[in-house]
């Protein structure tokens, strides 16, 4: 059945394919690790492989960003300052032993959250978010064009705040604010964040106290950057979903957005459920408009919005905007 003489030609091609896969894997190890993290939520701690692999500049940069986050977590979650713990594992143990977020005093807003935001003719609007924003942005952009208001659409599918190694929204927004001085940020994100987080080699379970803290910090970092750049923020919360993962997790994310944004009364938080449901809570694929015409609001996947849904959401957001 098996003949080595016959197998030697396929063996040659097998070796070629294998060599190619190894070479590509080595050259693009960072991309591969990001892919595994984002697609399969599996963390590959390549930092220990770095000396063996003879770091490329992109690797060094990736590790530096990883280190920056580690420092951020230490400084914000623990507020300990001082010297760094000996091991990264120790950080996670401490994170998991941190007080439960729900036992912390409730964050009280000093003022009610705003419900109207001004946009001037010389403002520049920045659209940020995932594929939900990819559907919404072009419709809002048309309205901005009619008013000759400049905008940039950075929305990108499969992104979120949970996997900065794959795509780093806080960093992207920071760079964008510095380079182009956007004055209004419209953010619609979260559909890709209903997963456990990987932080310094340890998995943080979704909705656990450490997970909530890390995620909330990322939301707050965006708002803080916007404030420092004197940019106003409109944050759109997730509508109800008809997806087995998101149906329970979207409300958790929305609650985190509310908690993170309520200390910032200048931020306009808009609930997409206002126009995409009948009762503000329950997923609705169809809905009658004011003229009694039934409209398809949501796509077949139960996550994304159909064109009519995007139009309704755009109209809702624009109702909270005053063009001056």
């Amino acid at each position: 059945m098996f003949s080595f003489f016959s197998f030697r030609r396929p063996l040659g091609t097998l070796l070629v394919l294998g060599a190619m896969m190894v070479l590509v894997g080595w050259l693009k190890l960072a991309a591969l690790a990001n892919y595994l993290e984002q697609r399969h939520h599996v963390f590959v701690d390549t930092s220990e492989l770095a000396p063996v692999l003879n770091l490329s500049p992109q690797w060094a940069d990736w590790l530096a960003r990883n280190d920056a986050y580690w420092v951020d977590v230490q400084n914000t979650v623990f507020s300990s300052g001082g010297t760094l713990p000996a091991s990264r594992g120790a950080i996670l143990s401490e994170a998991q032993a941190a007080p439960n977020a729900s036992s912390l005093p409730a964050v009280a807003a000093t003022e009610p959250m705003r419900d109207l935001l001004d946009i001037k003719a010389d403002d520049q609007v920045l659209f940020c978010g995932d594929s939900l924003m990819q559907g919404l942005a072009p419709i809002m952009a048309t309205q901005l064009r009619h008013r000759k208001i400049a905008f940039r659409n950075l929305s990108r599918q499969s992104t979120g705040l949970a996997y900065p190694n794959y795509f780093d929204w806080p960093k992207t927004i920071h760079e964008e604010l510095e380079a182009h001085h956007a004055s209004v940020l419209i953010i619609f994100i979260g559909a890709n964040d209903a997963w456990d987080l990987m932080q310094h080699g340890k998995m943080l379970a979704f909705d656990s106290a450490p997970w909530r803290e890390v995620y909330r910090q990322r939301v707050e970092s965006i708002v803080t950057m916007a404030q420092e750049a004197k940019a106003r923020v409109i944050w759109v919360s997730l509508p109800p979903m008809d997806n087995k993962r998101l149906v329970a997790r979207a409300p958790v994310l929305n609650e985190l957005y509310r908690q993170a944004l309520s200390p910032h009364p200048e931020v306009l938080l808009i609930a997409a459920s206002q126009v995409l449901t009948e009762d503000g809570v329950t997923f609705a694929r169809y809905k009658k408009n004011s003229e009694g015409v039934v409209q398809l609001l949501r796509a077949d996947d139960g996550i994304h919005l159909a064109p009519a849904g995007n139009r309704l959401l755009s109209e809702l957001i624009l109702k909270h905007v005053k063009f001056i």
Partner: protein, 474 residues
Amino acid sequence: MAHPLEFPTVRFMYLSPEFALGFFVLFALYWFFEAHVGAQNRLLLLFSGLFYASLDVHLLAYLLVFSLSVYGVAQRIRHSQGAARRAWLVAGLGCLVAYLGSLKYYLPLRDLLAPYLAGSSGWAVSLLSLELLVPVGVSFYTFQAVALLLACYRDDPVCHDLTLTETGLYLAFFPTVVAGPICRPQFLLPQLRLPRLFTAPQQGLGLIARGLFKKLVVAQWLASTWVDPLFANPTDFNGLELALGAAAYAVQIYADFSGLTDLVMGIAWLLGFRLAENFNLPYLARSPQEFWRRWHVSLSSWIRDFIYIPLGGSRHGLWRTQFNLLAAMVFSGLWHGAGWNYLVWGALHGLACVLANVWPPRLLPPSLLRLPLTFIFVSFAWIFFRAADLDQALAYLSAMGDWTKPFTYNVLGGMLLLGGFFAVQQLAARLQEPIRAKLTQLAWPAQVAGLTLIAWVCIELGPSGIPAFIYSRY
């Protein structure tokens, strides 16, 4: 929290690292059993099942039941005579049409009828809330099944001794199950029965590299830079930019679909299979009829053999021939989707072919103009194909009439790129065969270096994540 039916989320899409690893293992095992065709076929069937299940395990159930049913009907056709044989054929074809029609057109029709049904009760509301999973590649493997049943009915020798494994593999062959090429039983079944020869692997690897580059670099760049922004907001752009956008989509869909075809042909080549060419430099066509002899050849030949010819073909006079041609092209449009825009796209091509047939030869445009005119027509028709619906297509066309807006794009650069594309096409027509001959002589270090370079370039210049193929949705 895991849903009970959640399958491990390893998606074996052709462009994923998981598929590369899986194919590597398959390749080793497959050629280990080189002298044993039966073992190779079973291995291929297992891998094809895993591949399809990785898309969605429920879809595999569809395909399993479908394959068993097609095999059963094929056997009944083969072992019946006269009226019973015909009855089995009609029943089989009817079920295939119902299967494809209900799965492909249920959701669009439901959304079309929703405004009228929403106020009803009973079955109408149940219809609105019924969700159907549409299997990936359903159009392709159903068409293959039609060809198989008809071959059995006509007592084609390839159907003698047809086995269940062969039927399953014919329908679910993983390189072709997602988006073709549509294989005829006369073409694929003999290859499943004969020992496979491992020859000129460099050509297979070259096809894979070419497919990756076309899809990940060319198609994705055109989509993100030109096509998507222009189609999203056509009223914001100058008419010339929109015209270039239509041309950009023509090149994008060609790079996307022919890139997929190259990829699967290369994969099949490395397994000892030869798939028929699906694209033959279609934008070098000088007439609409020639375009369809070069574009998606497996589909256009299927429509010719199973729609156009049964309608009468060219046997009943000039005008009946044109009617048959128009009907076949409208069918082709509707095969892509249940939308008015697809119907218009198919009808436009049908009308163009009819016009080209009846146009007096002395009034045909000069030879030099035929290629650009054909490309302009095809690009115009693609507007209807790319648009989400007829309204969006008409809005795009309307915006093309406005040449007063300032340019946003580098229009000259766009025209030069288009010219460059045609230059590459002309070169490819001349150099394809010499390049293939040279590839065969490539030593293994050059193969490794070349493949690695192409893969690295594709990852560097391509999109993040795994992009879908346009034709995998049909």
